[in-house]
Subunit: 558 residues, 2 copies
């Protein structure tokens, strides 16, 4: 008996399921339903088509329905929307959007790969004429056409997530004057504030205006422009608005059919990606996954997981017993001149869960060069690592011009393997001057993390230093010690700091008071760490190192 | 009682040991002996100074003796050579090379970090005037001066290891016409032949002549030039010779003192990096390590391991109990337009050890894009993975213009963590179009490796195909099936192949004979794999896929 699999949704998760299933089972009948016009396209490339980085629109369409039919013998039906699932009778009701006809299709296996859609909140005026979201190929065509024909001069991007930032960058590239409005005090939620601050600096350096900690109260169409009123009362006039404030799973269909959903609408699946109904699987943005680090339910709408889930789902339909083991949320994005990447949990999340630094977890934040400093083109990379007091890695973040994706990938692999910070020290990474240093930044994260756990070093964050020196008379409790060379100090120094270059510290430490906290600093943190070691072993009992050094400190105060 | 550590050798392993030891123990007396003029320099950058990529000579000198004294309170003695170790009495005899004086120094702990030296074999004429090795700063100064003053037009590099290739590239950059002579049939020993072949193609494309499988019989200085006679009888005239045919450990001192050495002169150490003598440690190129994959003794002279060992050694001297767990040999090198990287063992080594493919191990070789194909700048990366039949990863190799170091690092991490190929499938790597694909090349290695182990696919290497079609009448046993599109076939096809584009295969497979082996091919291997799946499930029992597709096949026959 020839079995039949019906797949709802024809892009990342759905198309991959179809392709793998075909390779596993040449005789299976496979029907792929897609309500849009296109299947198997590169959602992730769409922002770059707007900015003309990806010039060729066709290159975004990885498979056409015809090719998918010919190569994979999949019955692809675009502009066919699944409108009802009947799990009892194993029947899907489908609406042919072009013909207007409604019909039924029975299935042995059903795969729900309906993805997610951008959130459009009920803000007054949100249905105004110049307000767009970017999610599909037609969305992209529309925005490109507006830019070409209406020639807008200004754009406001609402939402500073990765898609918002990619759009800001590409609208900027397309010649528009761009503002970003973000409700939180930072862009790129996977990063902690101080890491995001590096992006803020660079975004503004690129002439894009950044409004943080403010949300949209209303939109109003007026004189051919959109007037945006923010919660703070601030107003903004713009030619076009790009809304990018989050996504919600396309699970109405599943919910109506009685499949179990979580509170955010995510379809619940077991490890084999089976929903609560027999023979119905679900993959991609629409499902709830397990956060690999916290072992808690999560919604993580990313293409890598969707593709992997599709392959696992196909194998299970073909009789396999494959498990999907959860999602780390490894992500990366280009943000103007920088790359930002992250994996696992961030500090905000730990704090929200009531965890306390020093008791439940620790962090290190370091600055290293992307490759050997003496080889041309080396640029700084800032890395942050979160780990518990046994050394288990909880999360990692990196920002820099180069080499960020590599370090995040290595760290994501380490987290996936349950590595500790001690394992990071031992990682034997490829070294030649154009690529890395003999101690790779990832090794350095391990070293510094060990030093923290072994109490060889204690860091003070820029924020904490700022808080302290805001108090009148702080000098009575704290000495800020600059251990850089004379020349460096002339270029920049933290006001109120004392200056003793590292090379003179052993001779001159009697100049320093032993009864108060000392915070050492240098350019990146290495010399100040060496200085701290000298002091700690010479009777100074409360010594801290300024995290990331002045290079980071200056970015925090850009 | 103040303890004293004497360290012999002041570069990668030695200087790192000193720095870390100081941070661990401010009161320890630390003496650093270096027979050369410089400590703590960037050996790895030296070739690039010859090619003027690294213009500033000073940038290669990471620490001066003075700075090391001031910052780390280390008693650095350059041009002081350790000439004898007396383990019983804990005494080192030292020759001050400048003053000519010989003196003694006692120690509580001794660290041998004497590194290695280039092998200079007793070939007739090897002491000729224009024959150089590059290992130290003075070597570099000498070669740079020769290039500037004598203006040689041609150079022959003897040895195609990574230093030889870096020198070939940099001499080429400096305007010389370069030949490389290598005894083996390939350059870059960590790679297998077919991977090295990609480098051969690129080296020759860059106008460097490559003589493989031939060694030097003699050198002769004649008319201001060096005449090189090769074992084959072939002759080569050149203005300068750069010898780079391997290294040997600087362990005479250790050997004479009775420390246990292996057959190649490597100092034997335990997991804590202690030699056979009490309180004598050794690190770096001079020691024998354990091959992390084979769990066998090995000599692996690389900077990453030397640095890590130095840190572990320091911690153990300071009372720690740290273990060094072996070396994977992760390496990377820039070779003209390409990057080549490797970790773990290669197939040559497995074969040498009597292992049989299909019985003891399997391999996959794939071609993937460095990042999403639709985003500008994506270039092919060729990856090879070796694994045993349980899926344990034995080794990995990669060659390409970009993204090679990242994939090798991820794979090295996976190997270090004892991952299997199934783990590679699950690795959640960072994806955005400028950095990778939703299925990263490393995931793809996992997928294809699983397919091999599950017998969903069987690959034929280019070499095997070549061997088969050399036999007269091969067509009786074998059909070569081209599944590319018409346009692609017009550009290139394998002679004697049959053509059915993938999209027509289901309709036209009756044209193919079922009684003989079929090898499918396309550009990179993906469509031909899909074709093979169709055939295998339709009664064709012996179907293979041409490994790496025609893009790889063409490089094999460049
Ligand atoms: C602009 C943009 C940039 C992105 N960049 C990245 C990135 O850089 N990295 C990354 O990892 N991820 C990125 N993503 C996210 C990534 O594209 C998604 O996580 C991934 O596509 C999810 O796969 P999916 O199969 O679950 O859903 P989708 O790929 O969205 O496919 C779902 C499909 O189902 C169809 N559908 C829905 N309901 C029905 C129905 N009832 N009947 C028929 N068809 C239906 C939809 O029309 C849609 O085509 C980006 C997304 C966008 C929009
Ligand atoms: C040109 C070149 C390029 C390289 N490129 C790379 C690369 O890209 N990646 C990589 O991983 N590795 C590379 N290496 C290898 C790397 O530099 C070595 O593996 C590393 O330096 C070994 O560290 P070590 O401390 O064991 O020895 P070294 O760094 O060589 O230091 C040993 C020191 O000991 C001194 N010494 C020896 N005997 C005595 C004695 N009796 N008394 C006093 N002093 C003594 C020597 O003069 C020497 O300075 C390269 C090496 C060279 C030469
Ligand atoms: C286009 C699409 C249908 C292709 O699906 P696919 O055939 O599974 O994927 P690929 O073309 O990448 O090929 C991967 C397959 O080839 C195999 N393969 C890869 N390289 C190979 C090589 N050199 N030789 C042999 N096999 C190879 C892999 O093992 C895998 O097969 P498997 O899953 O059976 O193990 C699907 O990926 C898709 O729709 N993608 C676009 C949508 C999307 O992902 N959007 C979000 C990101 S922008
Ligand atoms: C120069 C040299 C003496 C420096 O040794 P070092 O001080 O151990 O190394 P680094 O300057 O890289 O600093 C690393 C230390 O700073 C710490 N560190 C790094 N970044 C930090 C930051 N942002 N904040 C605080 N600490 C940091 C690390 O944890 C490490 O300390 P640890 O070993 O006590 O854990 C030694 O590396 C050397 O001689 N190198 C050149 C020779 C060589 O390696 N050649 C071969 C390759 S070309």
């Amino acid at each position: 008996m020839r079995k039949k699999t019906v797949i709802i949704g024809g892009v990342a998760g759905g198309a991959t399921t179809a392709a793998r299933l075909r390779r596993k089972d040449e005789s299976m009948e496979i029907v792929l339903l897609e309500r849009g016009e296109y299947i198997s396209y590169a959602n992730c490339g769409l922002p770059y088509h707007v900015g003309d980085v990806i010039k060729n629109r066709e290159s975004l369409l990885l498979q056409t329905p015809e090719a998918m039919k010919k190569k994979f013998n999949v019955d692809v039906r675009v502009q066919n929307e699944a409108v009802k699932i009947n799990p009892e009778d194993h029947i899907v009701t489908i609406k042919d959007l072009k013909a207007g006809r409604v019909y039924e299709e029975n299935y042995d296996y059903l795969v729900i790969a309906t993805g997610s859609s951008p959130v459009v909140p009920p803000i007054p005026g949100i249905d105004g004429p110049d307000i767009y979201t970017l999610w599909t190929v037609p969305d992209t065509d529309r925005i490109k056409k507006v830019i070409e024909t209406k020639k807008p001069k200004t754009a406001a991007v609402i939402g500073g997530g990765f898609i918002g930032l990619e759009m800001a960058e590409n609208l900027h590239r397309a010649g528009l004057e761009v503002s970003i409005v973000e409700m939180q005090d930072q862009v790129m939620a996977p990063l902690d504030f101080e890491m995001a601050q590096l992006l803020h600096e660079n975004i503004e350096m690129n002439g894009v205006s950044l409004i943080l900690g403010d949300g949209v109260a209303s939109f109003e169409h007026k004189d051919g422009k959109t007037l945006i009123t923010l919660n703070s009362g601030k107003e903004l006039q713009t030619d076009m608005v790009l809304l990018s404030i989050g996504v919600r799973p396309n699970s109405e269909l599943a919910g109506e059919a009685g499949l179990k959903l979580n509170g955010r609408g995510g379809i619940l699946v077991d490890e084999m990606l089976r929903t609560s109904e027999e023979n119905i699987y679900a993959v991609g943005d629409v499902i709830e996954v397990e956060n690999y680090v916290l072992k808690e339910p999560a919604m993580i709408p990313l293409a890598g997981p969707a593709n992997k889930q599709g392959r696992i789902c196909a194998d299970n339909i073909a009789g396999g017993q494959k498990k999907y083991k959860g999602t780390l949320g490894t992500s990366v994005a280009q943000v103007f001149d920088l790359t930002a990447g992250a994996a696992g949990v961030n500090e905000k999340t730990l704090i929200r869960k009531g965890k306390v630094r020093g008791k439940d977890y620790e962090t290190v934040l370091i600055n290293q060069k992307s490759h050997a400093g003496y080889y041309p083109g080396a640029v700084p990379v800032t890395l942050k690592l979160l780990f518990d007091l046994d050394g288990n890695i909880l999360g990692a973040q990196a920002v820099g011009q180069e080499g960020v994706d590599k370090r995040i990938d290595v760290l994501a692999g380490a987290m996936r393997s349950g590595n500790t910070i001690y394992d990071l020290e031992e990682l034997e990474l490829a070294y030649a001057p154009p690529y890395s240093s003999a101690k790779d930044p990832v090794n350095m994260l391990g070293f510094t993390a060990e030093n923290v756990l072994e109490k060889m070093v204690s860091f003070m964050s820029c924020r904490e230093l700022d808080d302290r020196i805001e108090t009148e008379g702080w000098e009575k409790d704290l000495t800020i010690l600059d251990v850089t060379e004379e020349m460096e100090r002339m270029v920049f120094h933290i006001p109120g700091s004392v200056h003793i270059p590292l090379g003179q510290l052993r001779q001159r430490m009697s100049e320093l008071p032993k009864d108060r906290m000392i915070v050492t600093y240098c350019a990146i943190g290495v010399r100040s760490y060496n200085a701290a070691r000298i002091l700690m072993q010479n009777g100074f009992s409360d010594v801290k190192v300024l995290e990331g050094g002045t290079s980071f400190y200056q970015s925090m105060h850009y």
